[in-house]
């Protein structure tokens, strides 16, 4: 049985017992245990079910390479599916449940797949489930989906928070084993800033488990001296529980620190995601042991030899009483010796090599352990756990020479250097025959920004598997026994989680999926949550053999980040909820909130859409706001409007290039409406430009366009006309702007007291500086509603107070705030275009009847050449007109104007579309603008707009100005 030993366990604190539960069963462990160690200490050998065949699964490894022992950890808002027990630190109250079975772990209906496994080889689903056609979606797929998946889907959001941080260093050392510690020290000695990250909670790596000597000292003594040395240095930062997940270009490394995984709910962030920029990465991530491929190698109780040794030495846990060791190299003998030293029974070491004469095999023999060379396992016996092994000659076809009873098997198929971080950015690998593994090729490293090597590899990760410096040799043993027949090969697991067997890879090769990428995808080899850490090399070897090729020719699949899975919450960081994105608020934002505004996002701004009163729908509120603005006075927060100052001796020349019209001739004190196009000729932004003084203009842009247009200006000034003397400044946030709109607008401003805003002093399309209610203001007499209208800019710090002053003074004149939707209706009633409604990136000013705003005299402006292209200059373009429905209804938003017949692709022909459509509270009927082929020549014609249900709405073509055609209201 699997149990806690009476003695030992270098990582556990036997005086600190910890209670936890597995599948509801209360269990006990110790502080320092991994969940996997604690489960083994409680004789929980079977911990889950495999993905495809639902076979019983036990713990195989002791680190992040574990493919089997995944659990649902926690519950509710702290449920974490697929948590690896081998890297989960035990804590008090931990609740874990096993995965991928129904109704229970020990009795799982899904295991029927196991009995039918012969009918479900790799890729079988590509060959069936095709008839009848609807069955895939309605029958086969739902069944497959339910059977697949692993952990439970959470049903709640996340109770924890995550932090993100930046760090910079000269050298980032990944892995705090002996090699990593030495590398960190020598970099630190050279005066470099060093960060050392270690995925486990402790430093030292594997060496202390193997009780070796380092530099002539016992490893534990060496370690404590080294730890003290590094801790004392200012230029070294050590972060444990931190996994370097990915290496990206130019020395960018993503590292995930598990801050509070083992102390949930203590208020600290669960993880901290480090974005590290380093001049160099030193990969000291060690090596991962490989399984051997023998029949039944997936039965719970079969473990990696190194992992079994970890459990005995680190945690004082014995996974079995009688352990058969099977290997192709010397390292597994250490496991045999460690078990023996712990007083456990090792009936035999089966060594596939013809002879084993190294120091370790000799030590094992000396310790009385039976060593059988040239032999291996024909088959492991047992179902939900190991009961014994059948021994056979490695050279043969599996005829059994002996049966050995045991309850655990320790296997070692050699070690694969952890080359992931070397390979993420394209570091190349060589196949090393002496250790049968891929190792980094130092002559073909991943490159840094300056073309130098970005990653260096030391220790076992470089292929140096023996700390004492002697080259280890590991002869390849890819199948055990060598001549195993198909019956055995179809029971040899390569990928434990995804149920990929030796026979599956052979089948893929036989069917022509000869690229390693094809085989991976066809069989799903290496696509499980361990990403092939255990299975890839073994699978490659089988593939190469099946193709009659060599492993280096077959090559590896691409190593992609992350090295181990990273919690998505950590990658999202703190940007959630209200602070999901930065929020831009105008100075009046709070006042709008108090007034009960319903906001809409406009870029990162929030703008009031309307100000609904109790019992009002949004639509009713908009209508009230429009009516009140037309009849009394409305207040609009226009602060989000872009405001860009363009200044300098060449500013006029520059603006003449930027706008389709002429801005250089605009007299000081006046305003002019302008259009900007991109180089294609398409209309990109519009707004009113004010001439401030001889060499200063202020350009208003749309709310969404301010940053874009400012960048656009700078692009031309810096990259094309860099000899022009022009400065630009985006002062959008420096000014709050209030539009006071309606027949009572002037009266309202006059009641504030201050500057003269009379028709004579401040005519339409002029601006003036002065004061209102004591505030320093710049008043623009411009209108986007057709009403008497002033836009008043005040320094942003006065914005809230000025808004309040207007609101207060406005009471006497029935002032009400109005929102963006009211703004839209007001402008649509007047036929003013809106960027984003009338334009969509394919519309030119000429389409919108804005020829009057395009200078005919100018030789050039941005977009002029583009507009000359045949398709843009065509007389057949859709052009802007107004529409009114015959029945007064509102044309559906997004509707198209149908034309007769269909095109060559069978689509109904169209001749236009609606661009703005509203119910006009002023006219009490639907109004619309839209684009229509040859529109302006078709006044009075009735056209048909489509509805999504297949019907049509009839509307008459008319001009776009629905209200106050002569502009009498705005010119008072």
């Amino acid at each position: 049985m699997s149990t806690r030993l009476a003695k030992g366990g270098r990582l556990i604190n036997r005086t600190a017992p910890v209670e936890f539960s597995f599948n509801g069963k209360k269990m006990k462990g110790f502080q320092g245990d991994s969940l996997a160690a604690a489960l083994l200490a409680n004789d929980q050998v079977m911990v889950g079910r495999s993905f495809k065949y639902h076979r019983p699964r036990g713990i195989v490894a002791a680190g992040p390479e574990e493919p089997n022992a995944l659990v649902n950890l926690g519950t509710g808002a702290r449920l974490e599916p697929n948590q690896r027990t081998t890297t989960t630190e035990l804590f008090s109250g931990l609740e874990a449940t096993s995965q991928n079975h129904w109704p229970s772990l020990s009795f799982d209906v899904g295991v029927i797949n196991n009995y039918a496994s012969r009918f479900m080889p790799a890729g079988f689903y590509y060959k069936t489930f095709m008839h009848p056609r609807p069955f895939w979606k309605h029958v086969f797929e739902p069944v497959i989906r339910r059977a697949a998946g692993l952990g439970k889907a959470p049903t709640q959001g996340d109770a924890d928070r995550y932090e993100q941080a930046y760090a910079f260093c000269d050298v980032l050392v990944v892995g705090a084993g002996i090699a990593g510690l030495k590398a960190a020290k020598s970099a630190a000695d050279a005066g470099q800033r060093v960060i050392l990250v270690e995925q486990t909670p402790v430093l030292g790596g594997r060496a202390p488990v193997d009780d070796t000597e380092v530099d002539g000292k016992p490893v534990e003594a060496w370690l404590s001296a080294m730890e003290a040395d590094l801790a004392a240095r200012d230029n070294v930062t050590i972060r444990v529980r931190t996994v370097a997940a990915g290496v990206y270009d130019h020395g960018y490394v993503l590292a995930d620190e598990r801050v509070a995984d083992h102390t949930p709910g203590d208020g600290r962030p669960k993880h901290r995601l480090w974005r590290i920029r380093t001049a160099k990465v030193i990969n000291a991530a060690g090596a991962i042991e490989r399984p051997l491929s023998f029949a039944g190698n997936d039965i719970p109780g079969v473990m990696l030899a190194g992992a079994l040794r970890d459990y005995v030495v680190n945690y004082g846990v014995s996974p079995g009483d009688r352990t058969v060791v099977v290997t192709n190299n010397d390292s597994a003998y250490q496991t045999a010796l460690a078990l023996k030293a712990a007083g456990l029974d090792v009936p035999a070491v089966l060594d596939a090599r013809a002879s084993a004469t190294g120091a370790l095999p000799e030590a094992a023999r000396k310790a009385g352990i039976r060593v059988i060379t040239g032999h291996g396992i024909a088959k492991v016996k047992g179902g939900k756990r190991v009961t014994g092994v059948s021994v056979c000659a490695q050279a043969g076809e599996g005829s059994v020479t002996e049966e050995i009873g045991c309850d655990a098997v320790a296997m070692s198929g050699g070690w694969s250097p952890v080359v992931h971080l070397w390979s993420h950015c394209g570091g190349k690998l060589n196949w090393d025959d002496t250790i049968s593994a891929f190792v980094p090729d130092p002559t073909r490293p991943p490159l840094n920004h300056d073309g130098s090597a970005m990653v260096e590899v030391v220790g076992a990760a470089s292929g140096d598997l023996d700390l004492s410096g002697k080259p280890s040799t590991i002869p390849p043993v890819w199948v055990m026994p060598q001549g195993a027949p198909i019956k055995l090969r179809s029971k040899m697991w390569l990928d434990y989680q995804n149920d990929v067997k030796v026979s599956d890879v052979q089948l893929a090769a036989r069917e022509g999926y000869m690229s390693v990428e094809h085989t991976k995808r066809y069989t799903t080899l290496g696509m499980a949550t361990d990403q092939g850490k255990l299975s890839n090399i073994n699978g490659l070897a089988i593939l190469a053999d099946s193709l009659g090729s060599e492993i280096p020719q077959v090559g590896t699949t691409t190593f992609r980040p992350p090295y181990t899975p990273v919690t998505i919450g950590a990658l999202a960081g703190e940007s959630r909820g209200d602070i999901f994105q930065p929020l831009r608020r105008t100075p009046m934002h709070e006042a709008h909130e108090k007034a009960g505004a319903y906001f809409e996002p406009v870029g990162l701004w929030r703008r009031p859409y309307c100000f609904p009163r109790a019992g009002e729908t949004h639509e009713q509120a908009v209508h009230r706001e429009v009516n009140n603005t037309r009849n009394n006075v409305g207040l609009l927060d226009a602060s989000t409007l872009g405001k860009i100052i363009v200044k300098g001796p060449d500013a006029g020349k520059f603006l003449d290039m930027l706008y389709t019209g002429v801005m250089s001739t605009l007299p000081v004190g006046k305003c002019r409406y302008g259009l900007m196009c991109n180089e294609q000729g398409f209309l990109s932004d519009d707004g009113v430009v004010a001439r401030i003084d001889e060499d200063t203009w202020l350009c208003h842009t749309t709310s969404g366009g301010a940053d874009r247009i400012h960048g656009w200006m700078e692009d031309w000034l810096q990259c094309e006309w860099w000899d022009w003397k022009v400065f630009t400044a985006n002062v959008t946030e420096q000014y709050a702007q209030v539009a006071v709109v309606g027949p009572n607008a002037r009266k309202l401003l006059e009641s504030l007291g201050g500057m003269d805003v009379s028709k004579e002093a401040l005519p339409f399309m002029q601006w003036a500086d002065g004061t209102l209610a004591g505030f320093p203001v710049r008043v623009y007499r411009i209108s986007f509603s057709g009403e008497l209208s002033y836009e008043i800019a005040v320094p942003a710090s006065h914005g809230a107070a000025f808004w309040e002053a207007c609101t207060k003074a406005g009471k006497a004149f029935d002032a009400m705030p109005y929102g963006t939707e009211g703004l839209h209706v007001l402008r649509a009633e007047k036929g003013f275009i809106m960027i984003g409604d009338e334009t969509d990136g394919t519309v030119i000013p000429q389409d919108l009847g804005l020829d009057w705003a395009i200078s005919k005299k100018k030789a050039d402006y941005l977009g002029k050449r583009g507009q000359d292209r045949s398709y843009l200059a065509s007389p057949d373009r859709w052009k802007l007109v107004g529409f009114e429905t015959l029945d007064g209804s509102v044309i559906p938003d997004g509707s198209y104007i149908i034309a007769s017949g269909t095109n060559a692709n069978g689509q109904r022909n169209t001749q236009g579309r609606v661009t703005s459509t509203y119910y006009s509270p002023t006219l009490k009927r639907g109004i619309a603008m839209g684009l229509l082929k040859h529109g302006p020549t078709r006044m009075g014609e009735v056209v048909e707009f489509n509805t999504v249900k297949g019907g049509t709405v009839k509307a008459k073509v008319r001009d776009t100005v629905f209200f106050d055609k002569d502009g009498e209201k705005q010119n008072v």
Partner: protein, 115 residues
């Protein structure tokens, strides 16, 4: 995740501080240009797998546009330089020729300019 040194403020800027602007040293063709010239100016791109000259703006820094010579196949950066030049600095060209002896395509839109 690129880092590019802004030639104006000297900051080794992280990619997140920068706004990309694609191919550099394009010549603008305005009114009067032929359809072919205008099309080439707007659309035809070198898009090389290898040495490339491109525009970047230190958008969340000093705000300046600058140019970079970079390898699109390895992301190696040969150098950055101000946008207010009509050709890449000689030392950057020299560096590229040393690092990429096979490089022939030049920095001009028509592929010339290796001199």
């Amino acid at each position: 995740m690129l880092t590019l040194e802004c030639p104006y403020c000297g900051v080794k800027a992280d990619e997140t501080e920068l706004a990309p602007g694609y191919e550099a040293h394009l010549k603008r063709f305005g009114p009067g240009s032929s359809p072919e010239e205008f099309e080439a100016y707007m659309f035809a791109r070198k898009n090389p797998k290898g040495v490339h000259f491109e525009r970047w703006r230190h958008a969340y820094g000093c705000g300046k546009w600058f140019l970079a010579a970079r390898c699109t196949a390895t992301l190696e950066v040969f150098g950055t330089y101000p946008a207010q030049v009509s050709e890449p600095p000689a030392d950057i060209i020299k560096k590229i020729q040393a690092r990429r002896p096979e490089w022939k395509s030049g920095w001009q839109p028509d592929g010339k300019g290796t001199k």
